[in-house]
């Protein structure tokens, strides 16, 4: 008998743990349900609140005609600093849209786990939810594509943010991202301006095959790579990993000594670690630069220990994507491709980006 009681209690505890975690956000939903009809103001005779559930016709931004406007959010992951910042910006903005009644609810941040197959599963979850619009930050350009196309086929307005998938142009409602080639060019030009005499530089790459890695490298090669006073010692695969960038700095300092003038990194986790290593070895003259604008590197720019970093405006990208949804809900035309510029951050403008 005691066993049976224990079993019952455990079952209850298990179910409660599910309910408990869900409850916090669920509580916000009823409040959001009420203002929903307000969003459909443009639609001629707005369906009665009770009938809204059964309404078949699409009204306003209600793509699937269930009387609610639901936005899905499929993240790339929730652990990288850059994506955590970006997800945070999305969360804040989408919550405010729920609060002002523009949308009925959103799914919360669905964790793509940097796994394209997982993103395909989440796409199916969003279709079944059922979402009207979904924002997706693809993990892979090819392998995440079925997630985009399956949602588009189901009639969902898909907004691809940060990096494009293969059929983003044809299937997605909009794309909001940045031109990584330009980021590479910013880095190359910055190094050339700050070390006019030229010399040897080394390039710390991200994970090979990643579109950001390829395009940033391309921009770098267009500028400093094409300059005759500069020699590229090597393109070293560092997998976005700061500790591998430090190893690279040590290796090439040992090899080139004073001739090594610059370290160009595909992200600024690596460039800030590289600069710290150079500074520790008394080589503050070496210019290290990378892309992203994470808080750590920005803090170093503020302190003057790092010359500059290239900020990828993740919050700007995701907000541009959400703007596209808001425009679609209001019935305005949506720009197909929205480019958010990279910003070169130096001690002059660092304050506006530091939290």
């Amino acid at each position: 008998m005691k066993k049976r009681m224990l079993a019952t209690i455990m079952t209850a505890a298990m179910v409660l743990s599910l309910v408990g975690c869900g409850a916090a956000k669920e509580a916000a939903a009823p409040a959001a349900d009420a203002p929903a009809p307000a969003a459909t103001e443009e639609a001629a005779p707005a369906p009665a609140e009770e009938a809204a559930e059964a309404a078949v016709e699409a009204v306003g931004g209600d793509v699937n005609g269930d009387g609610k406007i639901i936005v899905g959010y499929i993240s790339k992951n929730t652990v990288d600093v850059f994506h955590a910042t970006l997800n945070g910006a999305a969360e804040e903005r989408l919550n405010s849209l729920v609060a002002d009644g523009t949308i009925t609810e959103w799914t919360g941040i669905l964790d793509g786990n940097t796994d394209a197959a997982k993103q395909c599963d989440l796409a199916q979850d969003c279709i079944n939810y059922p979402c009207d619009y979904v924002i997706i930050l693809p993990a892979e350009s090819t392998a995440s594509d079925p997630a985009v196309t399956s949602m588009a086929d189901a009639g969902i307005g898909v907004i691809v943010v940060n990096s494009a998938t293969d059929s983003t142009d044809s299937a997605a409602m909009a794309f909001a991202g940045s031109d990584d080639v330009y980021a590479g060019e910013l880095m190359g030009n910055y190094v050339m301006e700050n070390v006019p005499d030229g010399g040897v530089f080394v390039h710390c790459q991200g994970v090979i095959g990643n579109s950001a890695q390829i395009q940033r490298g391309e921009g770098m090669n267009n500028t400093i790579g094409a300059n005759s006073s500069w020699t590229n010692a090597a393109d070293v695969p560092c997998d976005w990993d700061a500790s591998k960038a430090v190893n690279t700095v040590d290796d090439y300092l040992a090899q080139y000594g004073d001739d090594l003038k610059a370290v160009i990194c595909d992200n600024d986790d690596m460039s800030s670690a590289a600069q710290t290593e150079c500074n520790a070895k008394g080589r503050t003259d070496i210019v290290c630069i990378g892309v992203d604008g994470n808080q750590g590197p920005l803090q170093m720019v503020k302190e003057g220990t790092l010359g500059a970093t290239v900020l990828q405006d993740g919050a700007g990208q995701v907000n541009a994507g959400i703007d596209a949804i808001v425009a679609a809900i209001k019935g305005e035309t949506v720009e197909k491709s929205i480019m958010v510029p990279f910003v070169l951050v130096t001690s002059d403008n660092v304050d506006q980006f530091l939290n």
Binding site: M14, L18, C21, K25, D115, A116, A117, Y129
Partner: protein
């Protein structure tokens, strides 16, 4: 008193609960989620969950065999990557037709499963160590073959392996049903199945009764390789991309499905339907958490808590029944 046993005291009921008590957990979970989010039990979402779990379920069957013999197969995630890359090479670069390309890829995965089995069974090496090492080797081979690059494999015929349907039921569910039947027969109706449980339960007793331990263990890992290979074909069709960086940490979900399904790490205890139930529970956890708006940072914790409670509950219900 003794003559009139209540129904839950009968041996038949106890045996049933001992094997499938985890089903009760599943029912509770489905009811709880459905009350909060009725769309969870719409047929379209049920098909969605079952389609999603197919890859994990196939891997878990192989994993279950290995765990039942007292081992484990941690190389399955890499096997997915190997099969994915090989399919790309055969179909895109060598322009082979689908059938031979799939057979060859499956043969490669099966071969590596066999190698795992030989290393574990013949040299009596710890399965954990062997498969963690071959995991690295297999992934490295996949990277060498593909040169680290992904390639698109989105021909309609190949995509149909995942997205096709038969009378409204997605193909992956059909593969899963077929393989579930085969696994049930293999584990519970054949001599090989009994040998697997014998080897896992008490290896010395098994040897004394004339069971060929080497072949039993080797076959388990070989089958695990083959099943991971089939899962790899489905997986590759799902993403329409052949690349070597896929399937990372897929072994954890497979192990979780086995454990939820009552597979004992001590060896000798498991059931095929239990594994299926375990895989469905994992699928419901993933899908249900998304439907319930559980924040992503809390999802891993929720998953961990549910696994611990589910296994504890199973143990409490069945303490007397095993």
């Amino acid at each position: 008193m003794e003559a009139k046993k209540k129904f839950y005291q009968t041996d038949a009921f106890r045996m049933f609960m001992g094997k499938y008590g985890i089903g009760v957990v599943l029912v509770f979970m489905i009811v709880a989620i459905a009350i909060m989010k009725p769309r969870f039990i719409y047929p379209s979402n049920i098909l969605n969950v079952l389609t999603q779990i197919s890859v994990n379920c196939l891997i878990a069957y192989g994993m279950c065999l290995c765990i039942t013999t007292g081992g484990i197969d941690l190389a399955v995630g890499s096997q997915l990557a190997l099969v994915s890359v090989l399919l790309g090479q055969f179909i895109v670069l060598r322009e082979m037709s689908l059938f031979p390309a799939i057979i060859l890829s499956l043969a490669a995965a099966t071969l590596f499963g066999f190698i795992n089995g030989v290393l574990v069974a013949k040299f009596d090496m710890a399965a954990f160590v062997v498969t963690i090492a071959t995991q690295l080797i297999i992934r490295s081979i996949a990277q060498i073959i593909s040169d680290g690059k992904g390639m698109s494999l989105a021909t309609p015929e190949f995509k149909a392996i995942y997205s096709g349907t038969l009378v409204g039921i997605p193909y992956p569910i059909i593969y899963m049903i077929l393989i579930s039947i085969v696994m049930y027969i293999l584990m519970h109706w054949t001599k090989f199945g009994r040998y697997v449980f014998a080897v896992g339960g008490n290896v010395n007793a098994a040897i004394a009764s004339g069971v060929n331990v080497f072949w039993t263990k080797t076959l388990c890992y070989t089958i695990s390789g083959l099943l991971a290979g089939i899962a790899g074909v489905i997986f590759t069709s799902k993403t329409g991309s052949a690349q070597s960086n896929v399937g990372l940490a897929y072994e954890t979900d497979a192990v979780a499905a086995c454990v939820l399904g009552g597979t004992s790490f001590a060896g000798g205890i498991s059931t095929a339907p239990g594994v299926l139930l375990g895989a469905i529970i994992i699928g419901c956890i993933y899908n249900g958490m998304n439907f319930l708006n559980i924040g992503s940072y809390y999802q891993y914790m929720t998953k961990g808590v549910i696994i611990i409670f589910a296994v504890l509950l199973d143990m409490v219900i069945n303490k007397k029944n095993r």
